[in-house]
């Protein structure tokens, strides 16, 4: 039943930055998240749409 999530356009990933720290993001295809290592936030990608809202981001705890 599980479908492969849609891949984000690499051109998009290239220009996206964290709205909080303005640093580049790491695209985690498996988790479908855009990870801001500097802000320790992971922005969700839902149905192929990056949700670039700090209020929706998952805090990353080490």
């Amino acid at each position: 039943m599980s479908e492969h999530p849609p891949e984000l356009d690499p051109r998009l990933v290239e220009i996206l930055v964290c709205p909080l720290t303005r640093t580049p993001l790491r695209y985690d295809r498996v988790a479908q998240e855009l990870v801001s290592d500097s802000a320790k936030l992971a922005y969700p990608v839902r149905d192929g749409i990056p949700i670039m809202l700090i209020s929706e981001a998952r805090e990353i705890t080490d």
Binding site: L12, P19, L20
Partner: protein, 256 residues
């Protein structure tokens, strides 16, 4: 980031747009007027723009009208199925990412408009162009007065029920402060005619533009009835009331 001191409730603004998404096309007449004008202005430059960003895109109908190599749409609401979801004043784009940034009908209720414009300028490539249109100025002026009068009559207190709107001088100043070159702010006046207040409020909801103010108070039934009566009192012989709408259009460039 989302403090109580903000004028607009970001979550509420998102919810209102999400709810409007499914039937947005039925309420897009004002958006379409802005889209036609912006598309014509882009064509008039005689330039071709490679990477295009449609900001506050709703269903993306403006970006779809502009030929580019690659078009990105941003909206605060996921239900519009944009390329990505973001607030206009917290853009997630690296500097020098787009050749053209356009926006129709969304910048009127952004919390940090000066910040949004600075971020737009940064996201443009050198020599890139920005065109935005949004409702402003004396739009809904009489309705604002009626709401204050009705609130005052019923409760002796008045609250803000319609967001304050920027005027054309203020908008020009923001472009200047935003660091753009050749900034121009223009204002156009329209009149929309409504058979009653309820029809006007239904249109606003359909556009995703019900009250998104952080300080909004519930509108009492008797106050609403009073405002509806005041609205009807101003109707012409055909029973329709003129509602003024002003649209500010910003045009500016990033230094080449």
């Amino acid at each position: 980031m989302e403090t109580t001191a903000e004028l607009f409730d970001r979550h509420r603004r998102r919810v209102l747009r999400d709810r409007a998404a499914a039937r947005y096309a039925d309420y897009a007449f004002l958006k379409d007027a802005m889209v036609d004008d912006i598309a014509a202005r882009v064509a008039d430059t005689g330039k071709s723009f490679g990477r295009v960003l449609d900001l506050g895109a709703h269903d993306g109908r403006l970006g779809a009208r502009i030929a580019g190599d690659w078009s990105v749409t941003v909206d605060a609401a996921a239900a519009f199925k944009p390329t990505l979801v973001a607030d206009e004043d917290a853009l997630p784009f690296a500097d020098d990412s787009f050749d053209l940034i356009v926006s129709a009908g969304s910048l009127h209720n952004v919390n940090d408009l000066p910040g949004a414009l600075i971020q737009v300028r940064r996201a443009l490539r050198p020599g890139g162009m920005f065109i935005a249109a949004f409702v402003a100025g004396e739009s809904l002026l009489q309705l604002r007065h009626d709401l204050i009068a009705a609130d005052d009559a019923a409760t002796g207190r008045v609250g803000v029920r319609v967001a304050p709107m920027i005027d054309v001088q203020g908008a020009a100043g923001l472009l200047q402060r935003g660091g753009f070159v050749s900034p121009v702010a223009e204002i156009d006046s329209f009149t929309v005619r409504y058979a009653g207040l309820i029809a006007l409020l239904a249109d606003l909801r359909g556009m995703g533009e019900a009250n998104a103010l952080a300080s909004r108070l519930p509108l009492r039934r008797d106050v609403l009835a009073d405002v509806a009566a005041r609205f009807a009192d101003r109707a012409d012989a055909d029973g329709k009331t003129n509602v003024p709408v002003q649209v500010i259009t910003l045009t500016a460039w990033k230094a080449g």
